[in-house]
Symmetry: C2
Subunit: 202 residues, 2 copies
Amino acid sequence: MGKRVYMASEIQLSSEQIVAAAVDILHEGGLDAVSMRSVAGRLGVTPPPVYARIGNKDALLDAIAEHFLADLAPDPERDEAWPDYARRWTQQMRQRLTEAADSRLFLQVKRPTYLEATKPLLNCMRRDGMSTDAAVRACRLLTWATVGFIAMDHSPPAASSRRPSRLAGSDPSGVTSEEIDELFTAHIGYLIDGIERDEGMR
Amino acid sequence: MGKRVYMASEIQLSSEQIVAAAVDILHEGGLDAVSMRSVAGRLGVTPPPVYARIGNKDALLDAIAEHFLADLAPDPERDEAWPDYARRWTQQMRQRLTEAADSRLFLQVKRPTYLEATKPLLNCMRRDGMSTDAAVRACRLLTWATVGFIAMDHSPPAASSRRPSRLAGSDPSGVTSEEIDELFTAHIGYLIDGIERDEGMR
DNA sequence: ACCTGAACACCGTTCAAGT
DNA sequence: ACCTGAACACCGTTCAAGT
């Protein structure tokens, strides 16, 4: 009684450890390599402890997505107007999603996670005089456009021999990564222009 | 010799039959219910014949996506300017993707399939004086925006009690389907306005 | 209390064997 | 020639059993 026989580690798995292991596997073998078994294996453990901590596979994927969206935003400069900050913010968002290397992760993310990530952008818009309603709508448009764009952008495997084209995205045979950069910037630019114009005639 | 003993059906599986069976299963049980085994089973057959015809699971998913994108476009009216036709075309595209009920199908679609679907829009733009380069770029922007939007739009399960809001998409707790319609229309509208403006200063 | 081992019901895919 | 049955190597998930 009271005597300790159990020799295994006293320290329970933390969700941070689990997510870290999952992210390692994601970067090494892609999202399809991330399984409850592979994550457990990397932690030197069988699946049940992972289930006990994280719930199930969907919850694990959510947690991975949240990991990549955490602390997304560098706060706006004091003299930075919202359209400029929005350009910076969407580029930052795009970079984070690209680091995650698989857009499937972000298509089932719950709204509160995106809401958390948009907070600084929302505040910046309100600071510049937008109504809360208009700012929430603008943030949703920009978030959807960014994630949607990345979801469509499964980069072409290799740069084949193609004539250089004058206009980004105009070559039907594919798109280079520079062209994708320009397409993304143009896309976001059109949205910001439109939102700005709507605000102007408010 | 020459004597027929083999009693099974003489008719090989066609890919149309396979896709039709897969689409049935998709509508009944969702994309996760579509497996090589379930499709074979619905056709009263074991998996190998399905593999023989369609190749593998990825090819099946491609074929399903193509099914939903086939004959996408009602051709433009003779007096219909490209911005109006683009609005119609994107709405049509959106409707087809929504019918498919799972956007994952369209995120791995090969470029030629989208290229085929965009053809009438491309021709309409060229008819109205856009250069091929500009038209291809514009079509890609609109296609990416449409598919990306739908990919983000996993409709909320039920209409909970929420205050009505004046601006589409401005409620942080969720979006009603009417609001999503308006957000989509606004998004596409901003893009078309931007493209039109670029063309104007050409 | 926490973990392991093993199982259940599935996958995608392949292949020897039947007719 | 075309199909079936069975297998291989995986999944997500759960649960009795150990310590």
